[in-house]
């Protein structure tokens, strides 16, 4: 009996079958710890939502964890169209559209450039190409602060400082290391015969890229899109440094709304604005599921 017990407990290791009794003490501890952790991670999202649905009188009286007695969507409307940043009172909508206008072309351009880079690095290596790639990867670790001012000068020389195109260039440049790595690894893993057969048929650099590589790169494109959409949407530093107040992205505007020192603090409006700013990356996260994990794993582990 004792022996049998030891035997089964030995089988209950992490790699074994799922144990039949779900409520062994060990299991309770495991689930207990996971639930405590889950509580810590969920709490802020819950508080954000709950606060954004309350009126200010209720916030002043009640506690931030209690659900709203009277649900109101007014804070959301106000956050979207009336909240003040100190510069203007158009709400977050202005920042939202700025961010959309920044994100869409930045994502497209940075992925287009990086996919060509990755393709050249895996199929058309030339003298020095690996050196440039190594510099690129090492560059990913250089703090942005080191390259901020040189980038300002470069953009000013090109006449792009403060403009949307300038910001697109910045996102393309600083997104390049990780995206190039992603595409290079993907294209290198494709069977070499594919490339060789196309070469025999007389296809050139661009022919092979557009007709063979690009159609095969859809999965990695999705991963790159997820990475870039969330990354650029969440950017704050480049938005502050490389744009003018009229083009401030959503994150910058959100910060200006919430941390503005003028007027009475409206916490419900602030939280509604915060959710609105987090909504797009959150939606991307929840919809993409496995791709998101794959993206950060590919990006993080290798980068």
């Amino acid at each position: 009996m004792a022996e049998a017990a030891i035997h089964t407990s030995a089988l209950q290791g992490p790699q074994g079958r799922r144990p039949k009794s779900l409520l062994s003490p060990r299991r309770i501890v495991i689930y207990g710890l996971l639930l405590v952790a889950a509580f810590y991670y969920i709490l802020p999202l819950y508080v954000m939502i709950v606060t954004s649905l309350k009126g200010m009188p209720e916030i002043r009286l009640g506690n931030i964890f209690s659900p709203p007695v009277e649900v109101t969507f007014e804070p959301w409307v106000k956050a979207w169209s009336q909240a003040c940043t100190g510069l203007n009172c158009d709400g977050l909508s202005r920042g939202f559209w700025n961010t959309v206008i920044i994100t869409v072309p930045s994502v497209l351009v940075s992925i287009a450039v990086a996919s060509v880079n990755g393709y050249a690095l895996s199929n058309w290596r030339f003298r020095g190409s690996d050196l440039f790639f190594t510099i690129l990867i090492i560059g990913a670790f250089i703090p942005y602060q080191v390259m901020l001012y040189p980038m300002v000068i470069i953009l000013r020389t090109m006449g792009l400082y403060g403009s949307l195109s300038g910001l697109i260039v910045v996102h393309t440049v600083f997104g390049m290391p990780i995206l190039t790595l992603l595409f290079r690894n993907y294209f290198t893993a494709l069977p070499a015969e594919l490339f060789k057969a196309a070469r025999v048929d007389g296809a050139g650099f661009w022919g092979i890229y557009f007709h063979i590589m690009l159609p095969m790169a859809v999965p990695i494109m999705v991963v790159a899109m997820i990475l870039q959409v969330t990354g650029i949407w969440n950017d704050f530093l480049f938005g502050v440094v490389f744009t003018k107040p009229d083009y401030y992205p959503m994150t910058v505007q959100l910060n200006n709304i919430v941390n503005s020192v003028q007027g009475v603090k409206e916490y419900n409006v602030n939280m509604a604005a915060t959710i609105l700013t987090g909504a797009v990356p959150l939606a991307v996260y929840f919809l993409s599921g496995r791709y998101f994990v794959r993206g950060i794993a590919a990006g993080a582990v290798k980068g």
Binding site: A120, R125, V258
Partner: protein, 301 residues
């Protein structure tokens, strides 16, 4: 893999011309922005540039001023405290969560989704939410007090001595999910036979983790370490959103000092010197790792 291009017989410079032209953005980024930009900043950190960059060399003056400025010294101290705790807790929480997730649990995907979603949010959003939760008038302190514990005090964002821990709570919330994912991938990569052998020998699970699994996961830990380390040095938006560097200058960080001097105080030289210090601290961390990684790769190749 060096396919001779169509013009292979001619000037070697034109070999692979299309690939070279297509790689121009990458070459320019690597040489002009990464190498050139970095060198430029380092060189100008030895000048007395104020409003505009000027090549008027003053030796180490900017660095001397930097280290005698209280704001900078506080920033560095903050970064050290934040960095040490961030490293320890990220690795600890990341590993423990991953080990718990690896116990053939139910709802694994649900838990993973919960642990990882903050990583999709920006530091601005993270900072603002935690600013609200840690607000002493309405947040945790208020709630606990209203439960009857009248003297309960928990106001990290308004207390100079502990404000950096308030930021830490938010940073861990945002970042540990990623480390958990990396660790979990590492755990899943370990041969099942190791576990079987340990069990046959009657080694308790915790001992197996500490003495066998963790040493085997060395590369995963090093990768996590480098990732966390690089992120620590860059910490900026979170502080801007959560505390604005306050109360006073109690939660200032180096990245903020750089921004302040470059774009507000019109004190470029200070900004360059401070960012060069940031570069050095990353280099101390990354160079040994890159060296190990690179020499490892050569052995394989």
């Amino acid at each position: 893999m060096n396919e001779p291009g169509p013009g292979a017989r001619g000037n070697p410079f034109f070999r692979n011309a299309a690939a070279k032209i297509a790689s121009l953005p990458m070459i320019l980024t690597a040489l002009v922005v990464f190498v050139g930009g970095t060198a430029w900043t380092v060189v100008y950190s030895f000048t007395n540039s104020k409003l505009l960059p000027k090549l008027n060399f003053v030796g180490l003056d900017q660095y001397r001023r930097l280290w005698s400025t209280e704001r900078w010294v506080v920033s560095v101290e903050n970064l050290l405290v934040y960095g040490v705790f961030m490293l320890v807790f990220s690795l600890l929480m990341g590993f423990v969560l991953a080990a718990l997730m690896d116990q053939k649990i139910r709802f694994e995907n649900t838990f993973r989704t919960i642990f990882l979603y903050p990583f999709a949010l920006s530091f601005i959003v993270t900072g603002l939410v935690w600013q609200w939760i840690l607000n002493p008038e309405f947040g945790v302190q208020h709630v606990v007090r209203s439960l009857g514990f009248e003297n309960f005090t928990f106001d990290p964002l308004y207390n100079q001595d502990i404000v950096i821990y308030g930021i830490l709570i938010a940073a861990l919330w945002q970042g540990t999910g990623l480390i958990m994912c990396i660790m979990l991938a590492g755990l899943r990569g370990i041969d099942e036979d190791i576990w079987k052998a340990a069990r046959v020998d009657g080694i308790p699970a915790w001992k197996t983790y500490v003495f066998i699994i963790i040493p085997m996961m060395r590369p995963v830990f090093i990768t996590s370490l480098v990732l966390i380390g690089a992120a620590i040095v860059k910490v900026y938006d979170l502080v801007v959103a959560q505390t604005g560097g306050g109360p006073g200058i109690a939660s200032e960080v180096p990245a903020k000092y750089v921004y302040q001097n470059m774009f507000y105080a019109q004190n470029l030289g200070q900004g360059f010197a401070a960012s060069t210090m940031m570069l050095i601290s990353v280099a101390v961390l990354v160079v040994p790792w890159a060296y190990l990684e690179f020499s490892g790769r050569q052995r394989h190749g």
